[in-house]
């Protein structure tokens, strides 16, 4: 470098920085910096409050689940979501899903049932008594929440449509609305999102069709207007924004099982002793709580649900 000969390069007038700009270059840089910093700060500004009447961090009045664990704040429950049809970024789902159209909404119930049909959301809200259920939600990624859902047990709906004797499984399907769901056409996942339960699991009283949370209608990011909640299974089983429920004879395909069968089993019961192939499931981060806590077998619902799995090896059928 040092031994290189240097020649001055001929320049045109328009290639030379004008003197007044050159002399003010520091000022100019400072201004540029300010613009950049301003943009950065703006991106950190708190999100605009939603249409909800509940203030972002409404006190939860010391309410707890049956184990004595406090409810997760409303803002976390509605601000930290996995809903890959919108985005894989959990904290951006809420804003991207705000314009998701859920009125009118209906669910087609078909397959091996005596009374197939299309149920509107209004019908379901009117026909099935809506009750509050406080459940723990454990995500396969290793975090958890305590959520006060509003809804009705799925067995009530199943009793209405009467599964035939051949029905052994229930298959669920999420809506696919490409012009409202930004990531549905990304090609990363084979949407529609599909889930399934064995019929006896679907008929268990803990299994809920949720239509709301924190006493308000289901927010779009949480799976409006109606979603499944199966509290003893990893969160991905609790399929959102359901448009179809089918009674079937064979184990139905489910999205995560299609994507990575060695990692996500059909049953997906919360089990600290069965590790995900790449990370342990022994502990979890409770959102809003420091540190980690031990993950409970069947997410703490073992007494209620273990009769479903008698004689099964849960490390093989995971």
């Amino acid at each position: 470098m040092a031994d290189k000969k240097r020649h001055s390069v001929p320049l045109n007038r328009d290639e030379v920085t004008p003197k007044h700009i050159y002399q003010n270059r520091r000022q100019f840089l400072k201004q540029m910096g300010m613009v950049g910093l301003g943009a950065l700060l703006a991106s950190c500004a708190p999100r605009k409050p939603g249409a909800s009447d509940i203030p972002p961090d409404a006190p939860v009045n010391g309410r707890t689940d049956e184990l004595g664990d406090a409810l997760t704040s409303y803002s976390a429950v509605t601000g930290y979501n996995n809903f890959y049809e919108f985005t894989t970024s959990k904290e951006q789902v809420a804003s991207l899903a705000q314009n998701f159209e859920t009125d009118p909404w209906s669910v087609r119930v078909d397959g091996l049932v005596n009374h197939p049909g299309v149920l509107s959301l209004e019908d379901m809200l009117a026909n099935f008594n809506q009750e509050e259920r406080i459940y723990r939600m454990r995500c396969v990624e290793g975090w958890s929440m305590v959520i006060p859902w509003v809804g009705f047990p799925l067995h009530k709906l199943l009793a209405e449509v009467e599964p035939t004797a051949d029905a052994r499984y229930v298959a669920f399907e999420t809506a696919v609305v490409p012009d409202q769901m930004d990531a549905v056409d990304s090609g990363r996942f084979p949407f529609p999102y599909l889930e399934g339960l064995r019929l006896d699991e679907a008929q268990h009283d803990l299994t809920l069709l949720a239509t709301g949370l924190y006493d308000e209608p289901m927010p779009p990011q949480n799976g409006a207007p109606i979603r499944l909640v199966v509290p003893w299974k990893y969160g991905f089983k609790s399929i959102k924004s359901i448009v179809r429920i089918s009674l079937v004879a064979e184990e139905p395909p489910t999205l995560w099982n299609i994507v990575a069968p060695q990692e996500y089993g059909f049953y997906a019961n919360v089990n600290p002793d069965v590790s995900h192939p790449r990370w342990s499931q022994a502990t979890e981060r409770r959102i809003g709580e420091p540190g980690r806590r031990e993950t409970l077998f069947m997410n703490g619902y073992a007494d209620e649900v273990m009769p479903l799995y008698e004689g099964m090896d849960l490390t093989i059928q995971f």
Binding site: T88, E91, R188, F189, V259, R278, T283, R285
Partner: protein, 222 residues
């Protein structure tokens, strides 16, 4: 003469930009922490941000030599060490967030996680290499180790490769069918492979010749 001064200024500006840019992710994390904007899963946010910074800086530090060669920008060589040190710093912070903040130094749990899962072993090996390289990056060790030092510093490629694998394994999805949020780690891996290839004379010589030919002006030939 003015040209040389200008060049020195530009080089200095680039050096300053490298330091500022490298410290920016850390400043950002601290800022978010102080203002309470780390989100609903603060540990995860910090793990992601420090991890991304470490991988990005590793890739940048490995881009120095190929870029210096191809564009004949000798002064770039001086950026390699700070970029590598910053990468090691972020890898260390990443591990600290995992071990101290997330697992509260519960050694039983940490050990269980580490021995059970390739995901963590891969990251840990990468971290150990980076810390070792950072520790021996100073002149004292360079003199003391002699030829071995150069060989040792080359293991940075192993560390970078393992870091990218660690990143790929952290994604929820399936690597074989690429179903999942794999864009960022795959870009990092692709860049890494490209940078490795550009070290081979067979690949970088033709580019160098081509660029030379393009910019050939009287008096600028070497």
């Amino acid at each position: 003469m003015a040209n040389i001064h200008q060049k020195i200024r530009v080089e200095k500006l680039i050096r300053v930009a490298v330091h500022v840019g490298s410290l920016f992710p850390l400043a950002m994390v601290l800022w978010l922490m102080v203002t309470g904007n780390l989100g609903f899963n603060p540990v995860e946010t910090v793990l992601h941000r420090t991890g991304h910074a470490a991988v990005a800086l590793l890739v940048l530090s490995l881009a120095v030599t190929p870029l210096r060669r191809i564009f004949r920008l000798q002064f770039l060589g001086r950026l390699r060490k700070p970029l590598g040190l910053y990468a090691a710093l972020y890898a260390g912070l990443h591990f600290a967030a995992f071990a101290v903040w997330d697992y509260r130094l519960n050694l039983n749990l940490i050990w269980m996680e580490i021995v059970e899962k390739p995901f963590l072993i891969v990251g840990l090996v990468s971290l150990i290499i980076l810390v070792l390289l950072a520790g021996t990056s100073f002149r004292f060790w360079q003199r003391k180790l002699g030829k071995k030092w150069r060989w040792l510093q080359k293991t940075v490629y192993l560390a970078a490769g393992l870091a990218v694998i660690h990143y790929l394994l952290a994604v929820k999805g399936d690597l074989l069918t690429l179903q999942g949020a794999y864009t960022a780690p795959l870009i990092a891996g692709g860049l890494l492979i490209l940078l490795l290839l550009l070290r081979i004379p067979f690949f970088y010589k033709p580019i160098q010749r081509f660029l030379n030919h393009q910019s050939a002006k009287p008096g600028e030939k070497e």
